[in-house]
Structure formats: structure tokens, C-alpha cells
Amino acid sequence: MSGVLVWFAMQQGPLQGDSLRARVAGHDAGCVVEFRGTVRGTARGLEVVRLEYEAYPEMVEAELQRIASEVAAQHDILRMAIEHSVGIVPVGGCSVHLAIAAAHRATAFAAAAALMDQLKVRVPIWKKEVDSEGGVWLGRGS
């Protein structure tokens, strides 16, 4: 893997641990910003049981590389690393984890927000929200 996206992985089930940050850290970094998406216990008034993620894995990585390059062209960051779940993620579990190192915090925050915005509308991953009334595939950046 080359360029600003130094690490990407998809993992079965919820993301655990704290190893992503070490992949972007360095003596050139003034900060590391991390984002974790976590599964909420309620949605549209119903109790959520779990999420089920499906992906088109080859295109996920290709699209994330494109998004990372675009974000790095707009925001002066050093390195980023991303992990995303596939399969079942229970309530409270982590489904996506992003770490960005930059010299300055304003660019790190802006880059993390932009990366997540683009991921949500472009990266071919889908979640089915399973609640007490069944399951529904979500879409349109939910």
C-alpha cells in the first residue's frame, strides 16, 4: 500500500483493539485524530439487535485509495489508516475505525470529517439493520 493511506483492512465482526494509531504515528506528527463508528441501540424508534455488513471488498479498497488521495490533496495530512467490519456487529460494537496523523489539528479534523463523508456515500459497503421487526438494508449515507 502506498500513498497517504498506509493501512486498510476489513475484519469479520466488530473492530477491537488500538493498533491503528501506531500505524500513522510518527515524530513528524503533532496530532492523531481517530474516528470510530459505533452501533447505536435504537433506530427509527425501534430497538436495534445488530447490524450486518456486506462489502464489495476489491472495490472498497480501490475507492478508499481514491478518496484518501483526494482528501490528502485538499488537507495537509501525513498518513491515514482505516479498518472496516464485515459480517455481524452487535449494538455498542465498532464498525469503522479511522486514524489520521497530521502536523496540525485543524487539518487532521477536517480531513477525518471529509474522509468519513466520502466513505459514507461512495465506498461499496452496505449495512442491514436488524431490529425486533426484521431487517432493512440502509442506503443513501445513513
Binding site: 464489495y56 472495490m59 475507492e63 456515500v121 461512495r122 461499496p124 452496505w126 440502509l138 445513513s142
Partner: protein, 77 residues
């Protein structure tokens, strides 16, 4: 042409791919229109076409042996 399906589209179709052999050349938009006519029961709203792991423009010509996939509205994160 062999076209992969995912998520709600695969679930509604009851299969992970579709096969269709339109006369060539064919653009992304033309293929999507043919697919809609051939499989009207599928949830087509917001579906995009990807060729070789890249979203393609409506007027892009498709290669017959390309890796094609229908991408319903995504919801990663």
C-alpha cells in the same frame, strides 16, 4: 456480460449476479436501462454501475470482459 449484485439488490434477485448480453458497443446508461427492463422487480432506485472497481459515467462504453457490478445506495461506516 456478467454483473455482480450486492446487498438489497442481491437479496431481491435471490442471486449474486446477473447475465445479459446486449449488442455492443453499449454504454453504462444503456446497460442499466436494459437491466431495468429485464428485471423490473428489482429495487433500482439509486443504483450505480461500477466497471473494474470504479464508478463509470453514464456515457462510458463498457468492455465486454470487464468486471461489472451494480452498486445500490451504500451505507458503510
Amino acid at each position: 456480460m456478467h454483473i455482480s449484485l450486492f446487498a438489497g439488490l442481491a437479496e431481491a434477485a435471490g442471486q449474486r449476479s446477473l447475465d445479459l448480453d446486449p449488442p455492443l458497443p453499449v454504454t453504462a446508461q444503456e446497460l442499466l436501462e436494459r437491466l431495468r427492463l429485464s428485471f423490473p422487480e428489482l429495487p433500482w432506485d439509486g443504483v450505480r454501475l461500477a466497471m473494474d472497481q470504479t464508478y463509470v459515467a453514464n456515457d462510458a462504453p463498457l468492455r465486454a470482459n470487464a468486471e461489472l457490478a451494480l452498486i445500490p445506495p451504500v451505507s458503510g461506516g
